[in-house]
Amino acid sequence: MIEVKTISKSFGEVQAVKGVTFCAPDSQVTALLGANGAGKTTSLRMIYSLITPQSGQVLIDGIDPCKEPEKARSLLGVLPDTRGLYKRLTARENIEYFGKLHGMSDEKIKSRTASLVADLRMEDFIDRKTDGFSQGQRVKVAIARALVHDPQNIILDEPTNGLDVMSTRGVRAFLQKEKERGKCILFSSHVMQEVSAVSDEILVIHDGVVCASGSEQELLNQTGKDNLEDAFVHIVTDGEGHE
């Protein structure tokens, strides 16, 4: 479970996040929906303690990442916005490296990698050097290495960005499966269909604050619209339909 209490952060004069509060429980997919520059990535980076919030608090299964960063990180599996791999290493070696940094034993890494390979369908390229991988192959490896330690909490920043239909479906099915295993999944996106397809709870983030939340149906009811895109526009423009 990820709890976020009024976190904020500014870079110089720009206040990127101004008091974001929410809770992402286990066995649920929570989506952060927002336009580019709404504060999604900065919020996520504070949650996975890459940057320190100027105010507020984050709790990962009750652990404060500011106080115990290493412990909090071991409870998290994160697919960040940037997902570069080590090109001279094979996909398997990329995953193993992160497994070792998590302090896993060789056997554990081996069995976990095998199950990730099966779930994400990476059999064809798992032992190839990652140089020249397609976008879809790269994202799969990046997800696998992020989740090699089988964390309870999964954070993904725009997970299907740049993926084709088949890869997107593969990733969605994988997330669904992880949810059924009782994981807490938090992801950010600016793609309506995506959010609509996989999330149980939607947090609309705009201008550094969460301005609406609820299931897709609840958001449609609140705004009186019949699709998520119209509802989103309604929410971020205060019902005016334009900025």
Partner: protein, 393 residues
Amino acid sequence: MNKQILTVMRKEITDNFRDRKTVMSSIFMGAVFMPVMFVVLMNFVVGMQKDKAEEQLELAIKGIGNAQSFISFVKTKGVKVNAFTGDAKKAVENKDEEAVIIIPETFADNFSKGIPAKIEVYYDASAKGAVNVTQKRIKSLISEYSRTIGMTRLQLRGISPILLQAIIIEDHDVSTAQSKGAMFMSFLPYVLILGLFMGSMYLAIDTMAGEKERNSLEALLLNPIKRSHLLIGKLLATISFGLVTLIATIISFKLAMPFMPLQDLGMTVDLGFKNVGILLLILAPLAVMAASLQTIVATYSKSFKEAQTYVNLLMFVPMIPSMALMFMPVKEKLWMMATPVLSHNLIINQIMRGEQVAPLSIIAAIIGSLFIGLILALVAIKLYNRESLLFSD
């Protein structure tokens, strides 16, 4: 040691070892190319000088008939005389002849009257190497002839030629064979230090700027490992590449020694096991300094190319003391021995001159460079801990 640090170090070494460019440019360039190039160049230069000095001298002379006695003198010295016709200046300019001698028609006349007779010598003083040897030999031949004739003339007039020599110079060169060798070998400290810098350079760039460029840094930082441990692992990998290159360079120099024409230059450079040991002992701590310095510079760069530019500039740092010492000899003092790079230059020069290196100097050099190296490593860790590390573009 911490297991995570080892994991990082092992990964960086494997990763970079697979990059042929890194291995070639660091280990090969530093350790193999430099000594080989040196052996080849040294042999070439020495060989050329020697050949010219021993080779039968051939003289192109215009107006042979004008100075029969000079020609026969020259022939007794084993010189082959070729008659020359044509434009002397052009022949030298076009490099058809290294030098041309012209004996004017007035020669015999002036000679018999006892007036200084003129011989013209055409040569190109700006020409490199062998030509200068030929030119010197020609001039010394002519002055020898001139002196012989002059003495004969004085004796004929009943004057002792000894009177001409008011002063005798007696040379006392105190340089030993080794210290002459040292002049030739004064490049060695620089080559060894350069090898060290070259060896760790690519690792520093790849583990820092490379990680940013291939967008893998953020994911790496999300692992439950302290950033300081992460950096120490990377630094250790970088240092190890520097050390490997250093050891390879020293070994290949030792192997190359027999092929260097040191005997011909009258030098003996002793690279026995003791001296090799001293070299390793004083240079190894420098690897910490080189790697930390390069890592610091690479942290500030966001791309491989940018880092490469800055790190390459760093190579000039160890060049400064080497260059300075080549031109101005100093008397070694203890503070100098504690100054990294400077101390290495001084100690290596001492070894090359065949002097005993004081143990205190070695200790000072080791402590001095380790101290500076560790401070720089701490700075690198501090920089790596910054939140803005990811956003420094």
